[in-house]
């Protein structure tokens, strides 16, 4: 019995974790207009509806664009900041690090609210760009922290060796630093994309017409009870699992060989 305890716990934990996902996916196949029990025979009508919903598909594309764009910016800015702080001794570096990390401790709602006030008072139009700016603000500290933490003596020694061999600064960064730090750069990028993709409140406050997927889903949520919500949730889930499994099989496994 004792030996089985961990496995029982594991099972119970997984049931808990997958409960809402199960309900979601099950009722996305509901034939009928309400995603509530009883479940009437499987139907693909809702998937058909969401795939032909232009607003929803546009929001999906917008989310991808904002996620990739803002994550790329965050990773680039974070990488250079980490490099600068690690390579050079700067006065007040502790303060700089503090400022860069600070947004991590602040709720997204507050970040969004602050930006909303400043941007609208300065006359900026709200759009996907403003939402992306907000996402860079929340992802930059993460990217910086992850990359900075992985900078170590091995990498610095390699850099020193390259410089000794006559490489210019740009070459050192591009040919030595980045390849060595690639795992953490990739991790930072991946994490940023994940956070930005699903982020709601900042996108909600800072967009006008072109919205991200979570905001569009929120509008759907306010527009009437329907299994469309289940369908889009399951759809997003399906895409994400595919991507993750793909990465797992083709990228991570290969690295291990």
């Amino acid at each position: 019995m004792m030996r089985a305890l961990p496995w029982i716990y594991l099972l119970v934990a997984f049931v808990f974790i997958y409960l809402p996902v199960a309900a979601l996916v099950l009722f996305s196949f509901q034939s009928g207009t309400l995603p509530v029990p009883p479940f009437n025979g499987p139907s693909l009508q809702w998937y058909g509806e969401i795939l032909s919903d232009d607003d929803l598909m546009a929001a999906l594309r917008n989310s991808v664009a904002v996620a990739f764009g803002s994550s790329a910016a965050a990773v680039i800015l974070g990488f250079f900041a980490a490099y600068g702080l690690a390579r050079y001794v700067l006065p007040g570096s502790a303060l700089i690090r503090g400022i860069l990390i600070a947004p991590l401790t602040v709720s997204y709602l507050i970040v969004g609210l602050g930006l909303l006030i400043v941007l609208t008072r300065s006359g900026f139009v709200l759009s996907l760009l403003t939402a992306a700016i907000g996402h860079v603000v929340i992802n930059l500290p993460l990217a910086f922290a992850i990359i900075y933490a992985s900078m170590g003596s091995q990498q610095q020694n390699a850099e020193r060796a390259a410089r000794d061999l006559g490489a210019g600064e740009v070459q050192v960064i591009w040919l030595v630093t980045v390849p060595i730090l690639l795992p953490s750069i990739a991790a930072a990028f991946f994490l940023s994309v994940t956070l930005s993709w699903d982020e709601f409140i900042i996108a909600f406050l800072l967009t006008r017409f072109d919205v991200s997927l979570p905001v569009e889903i929120w509008s759907l949520l306010r527009s009437g009870l329907s299994p469309r919500l289940n369908a889009i949730g399951s759809f997003v889930f399906l895409i994400s699992i595919t991507v993750v499994l793909f990465l797992e099989i083709f990228v991570f496994r290969r690295n291990r060989q």
Binding site: G32, T33, L34, V36, D53, R61, N62, V64, A65, F68, G69, A72, T120, R121, G123, V125, L128, V178, P179, F189, R208, F209, D210, S219, L221, R222, S223, G224, L225
Partner: protein, 351 residues
């Protein structure tokens, strides 16, 4: 390295594609969720070959703030609560409307509401849809007769089976009517009485809910009664769940109305006017009345020629004259009273 480059390239191209909108005329509208139904918007878009950009908003305060922070020309059309039109006019947000071009003669007379839609004799908006904030309920779970009397709707008998619609004006209006206070006459002194009624409602309620939350709660059996509900809440569900219905109690209920107008400074005022013309035309009205977010009575009575008998039955088309006579408009408090009412609402929500 290669995959990094690929990611950057695809990012740039995606951004380029996303910002490459079609070069049609565009109409920017700030609306309630019932205007986002493609069945309503697409016929207009195809006929005039334009793109209608829609943004939904939650409360009048948010809309007014959004509009005040926008530059002239950012918005063309505004949908707003009938009783808040004067606020929009005061803030310089609405432009005068050429109401003579609109078929208001075909409207139900009680909902033309010229006084609400105009300021100093100039008309700024036109009513497009109306309905009632009364009580929605599950007829298979509650006593029909209890629903016909305001005092028994939120009584202890239904403790835990009630949800309150999350909008202070109509619910406080209902509370006032229950106490015999006409909604038009609510003053600071009445707030204590209204507050007591709200407390009773709240103590018997399981939740306070917005549109979808209330629909979900009724549909899943969380609650059997929604105070402040009405046709707008249950009509959408009526097809599949005919036991979810509504009624107007004998003391009366509150009538809501939404108006539509052209935004001041719009660069597309002709197109905006065409849009409004479409919305108040019988076809537009019929589609708006049965829009997927919430249903309501069309302001234009001629829409009755287009609606099906089933749809009209759900809307209680034939009982409208009685209902219109029995119901009162929303409370229309001034800024100070409004702040007090909102505070009272939030206080009672969080007992």
């Amino acid at each position: 390295m290669k995959c990094m480059r690929k990611i950057l390239l695809s990012t740039i191209s995606m951004v380029a594609v996303a910002s490459n909108a079609a070069a049609k005329d565009e109409l920017n509208a700030l609306v309630w969720c019932d205007h986002t139904d493609p069945a309503l918007i697409e016929p207009f878009e195809t006929e005039h070959n334009v793109k209608v950009n829609l943004r939904e908003y939650e409360g009048t305060g948010a809309a007014l703030a959004l509009l005040e922070q926008s530059r002239p020309g950012d918005w063309d059309v505004l949908v707003i609560d009938g009783i808040d039109v004067f606020r929009a006019v005061e803030a310089g947000i609405l432009a005068p409307l050429a109401v003579d071009e609109l078929p208001t003669a075909d409207f139900f007379p009680e909902v033309v509401m010229a006084e609400n839609n105009s300021v100093d004799g100039v008309t700024y908006a036109v009513t497009e849809k109306f309905g009632y904030n009364t009580v929605s309920y599950n007829s298979s779970k509650v006593d029909q007769s209890d629903m016909e009397d305001l005092s028994t709707i939120w009584s202890d008998k239904y403790n835990g089976r009630i949800s309150i619609y999350d909008y202070y004006l109509p619910v406080m209006g209902l509370a006032a009517i229950a106490e015999g206070i006409p909604t038009a006459k609510i003053g600071s002194g009445d707030l204590d009485q209204i507050g007591d009624v709200l407390s009773i409602m709240r103590s018997n309620a399981a939740s306070v809910a917005g549109v979808v939350a209330a629909q979900t709660a009724l549909a899943t059996g969380e609650v059997d009664i929604v105070v402040g509900g009405g046709e707008w809440l249950t009509a959408v569900l009526a097809g599949e769940r005919p036991e979810l219905t509504w009624t107007i109690p004998k003391e009366g209920a509150v009538r809501w109305a939404q108006s539509i107008g052209v935004v001041e400074g719009s660069k597309n005022s002709d197109l905006a006017m065409k849009f409004i013309n479409y919305i108040v035309s019988p076809e537009g009205q019929a589609r708006l009345a049965t829009s997927s977010c919430f249903w309501g009575m069309p302001a234009n009575a001629k829409a009755g020629d287009i609606l099906t008998d089933d749809q009209k039955a759900v809307l209680r088309w034939n009982q409208q004259p009685d209902y219109l006579a029995l119901t009162q408009l929303y409370p229309a408090p001034d800024a100070d009273l409004d702040a007090e009412m909102q505070d009272l609402w939030l206080e009672t929500l969080q007992q």
